[in-house]
């Protein structure tokens, strides 16, 4: 640790953290993985996506409720608190409440208790903290604070590309005219860029036998450099799309506030979200997908030395996750699902680096201790042989879910296709859809958002 530590106050207790880490990662390094509890069954929640989507990490930070701890950087003297029922009623009461979840069946509507008014007020006061959405902000957190800056108009562009991964960078390079590239990462090259760089620098060169991942890394670097040098391209890094409005407008947010951009053509290449599968207790903190791992073990650099981690699934993300975990010092158990077909070089890499291998297994249950993951139980999918692997972290590398929200809002016709991970554009060919929306926008949906897998993208980049 070259930089001096930053000290935060977690529920009154000072914790030393590495500058640049997120609050969620800093707490993980101090063994705090349970950041909130679910409203009804009181189930532990943590940073399971680590990318600001799952909201398992909502906490009260410096007196402001509902802050995503996975996106909030640590700062000196920062006050971090859980905001769930336990924070209001105490942990024993929270545990008791968690056992009453069945008294509130699906379809129960809390606004039923609206009469008499006096009872309703008491009921509201009691039930709102149970939902774990916190108290109002401390007055000191907002009184006298300057208002956010007015939103900016980024103007009209020939092309706006959303997503800076393999597909987005290719679209930028293939496009013409003034182009705006919007990406939520700081580095170009998408969610895997940093993971690939860290894995490549790992002890024992974990990527040495993983040829396709090395090729992907080279291609991402090459495309990123070409985009950086292209005079027609403006890059908006660390920028998130907040909403899309027909026919042609995007509302985005960066560190300085909101901005609006319009375009003659929009390329939606926003990638995919982790899909963890629906096995028992898969919602335990410690169970995550590869994209969450790339963030937590990448930028956030959580301490994994000597920790055991299971990487389940198949395909390039499984191998990249294993390589990144290895580079971070974790003990890797590679659990191959029945469809996995690794080549000899990959298997040799696993053998060389001492990864334990399980073949032909499916996750059956996550087993917890003190609210977070302690082991993963597998079966063979046919009710046969059960096996368990002790682990603090399980990375589930199933099919990614295409990110559909922006494409849908721009007017794309989407259809549910489980073979391609979720809702994909109707009629997409080879991970790509081009056409005009009913409102008259030229729209392209590309890459994982159009149902391509990373394996497909690697085919595309492999000579």
């Amino acid at each position: 640790m070259a930089d001096p530590a930053v000290t935060i106050l977690f529920e009154g207790q000072p914790l030393a953290c590495r500058p640049g880490q997120s609050v969620a990662a800093a707490l993980w390094d101090h063994g705090v993985k349970v950041l909130s509890h679910s409203p009804k069954y009181g189930r532990p929640r943590g940073a399971s996506c680590a990318r600001g989507h799952c909201m398992g990490c909502l906490m009260r930070i410096d007196g402001v409720p509902n802050v995503r701890a996975c996106n909030a950087p640590v700062r000196e003297g920062q006050r971090v608190e859980r905001q769930d029922a336990g924070a209001v009623y105490g942990r024993p009461m929270q545990a008791a409440l968690a056992n009453t979840g069945h008294l509130l069946p699906v379809g129960f509507y809390y606004k039923w208790f609206t009469k008499p008014t006096a009872v309703a007020k008491l009921f509201m006061r009691a039930i709102r903290p149970v939902a774990g959405i916190g108290r109002l902000p401390d007055e000191a957190a907002w009184r006298g604070a300057p208002p956010p800056p007015r939103s900016r108009d980024l103007g009209r562009w020939d092309t706006v590309v959303v997503g800076g991964g393999a597909a987005g960078l290719a679209a930028v390079l293939a496009g013409e005219g003034r182009t705006l590239l919007i990406d939520d990462s700081r580095l170009g090259g998408g969610q895997r860029r940093e993971a690939l760089d860290l894995a490549a620098a790992g002890e024992g060169d974990p990527l040495a036998g993983l040829h396709r991942l090395r090729r992907l890394r080279a291609v991402l670097h090459e495309r990123d450099a070409l985009v950086a040098a292209a005079p027609h391209v403006t890059r908006a890094a660390a920028t998130t799309v907040v909403g899309c409005y027909q026919p042609d407008m995007l509302l985005v947010r960066d560190a300085t506030g909101l901005a609006v951009a319009r375009a003659d053509r929009i390329v939606w290449a926003a990638g995919a979200l982790d899909q963890l599968g629906l096995f028992d207790d898969h919602d335990l903190p410690g169970v995550m997908g590869p994209r969450a791992l790339y963030r937590l073990a990448g930028r956030d650099g959580i301490d994994l030395r000597g920790r055991s981690a299971v990487v389940w699934g198949h395909g390039p993300d499984q191998w990249l996750s294993a390589a990144l975990l290895h580079a971070r010092g974790a003990q890797v158990v590679l659990a191959l699902d029945p469809t996995a077909a690794p080549d000899d070089d990959a298997l040799a890499t696993a053998g060389r680096l001492g990864w334990r291998l399980l073949h032909g297994v499916r996750p059956a249950a996550a087993l917890g201790r003190a609210g977070s993951l302690a082991a993963l139980r597998f079966d063979d999918g046919q009710g046969g042989a059960r096996r368990e692997a002790a682990c603090e972290l399980a990375v589930m590398c199933g099919r990614g879910k295409p990110v559909y929200d922006g494409a849908y809002q721009l007017g794309a016709d989407l259809v549910l296709d489980p073979l391609r991970g979720g809702y994909v554009p109707r009629g997409a060919v080879a991970g790509r859809w081009d056409g005009d929306t009913p409102a008259g926008l030229r729209l392209t949906i590309a890459g994982e958002s159009a149902g391509a897998t990373l394996a497909d993208l690697l085919q595309e980049v492999t000579p």
Binding site: S38, P39, K40, Y41, R43, R45, C49, G52, H53, C54, M55, G56, L58, N66, R68, P105, V106, G107, P147, P148, P149, R150, S151, D153, T240, V241, V242, G243, C244, Y245, M249, L251, R253, G257, L258, V260, R262, L273, Q275, L278, F279, D280, D281, H282, D283, A365, K401, Y404, D405, G406, Y408, Q409, L414, V415, L416, D417, P418, G421, G422, Y423
Partner: protein
């Protein structure tokens, strides 16, 4: 206790989703409103595909027959303070150009 959670934000288990279906909620839009699936903090990022696939399984239909429920902006949490910071001159121009008040559908 062991559970198989379909929607984390609203705490809906796969059994509860199935029961709601058997109680007569046979479309995703209805199931979303009744069970709360997809209406929590994450707005369906964690559960809408999973729920739609489960509905296709329960109904014995092809997944392509289950349409996506309406996904309205914003797709990221926004504060009211941020919303109040919005300046949208081009859109305001278009809205002012649209007819208002005398629309017979809307009434005076």
């Amino acid at each position: 206790m062991s559970k198989r959670i379909l929607c984390r934000c609203e705490d809906v288990t796969i059994e509860e989703f199935g029961k709601a279906y058997r109680d007569g909620f046979a479309e995703m839009e209805a199931l979303k409103r009744f069970t709360g699936v997809g209406t929590g903090f994450c707005q369906g990022k964690g559960c809408l595909c999973e729920s739609a696939l489960e509905l296709a399984r329960l109904r014995g239909i092809d997944p392509s027959q289950v349409p996506l429920t309406n996904i309205r902006p914003p797709i990221e949490p926004l504060t009211f303070e941020e919303l109040a910071s919005l300046d949208l001159p081009p859109l305001v121009g278009e809205m002012e150009a649209a007819p208002r008040g005398d629309d017979p559908e809307v009434g005076p």
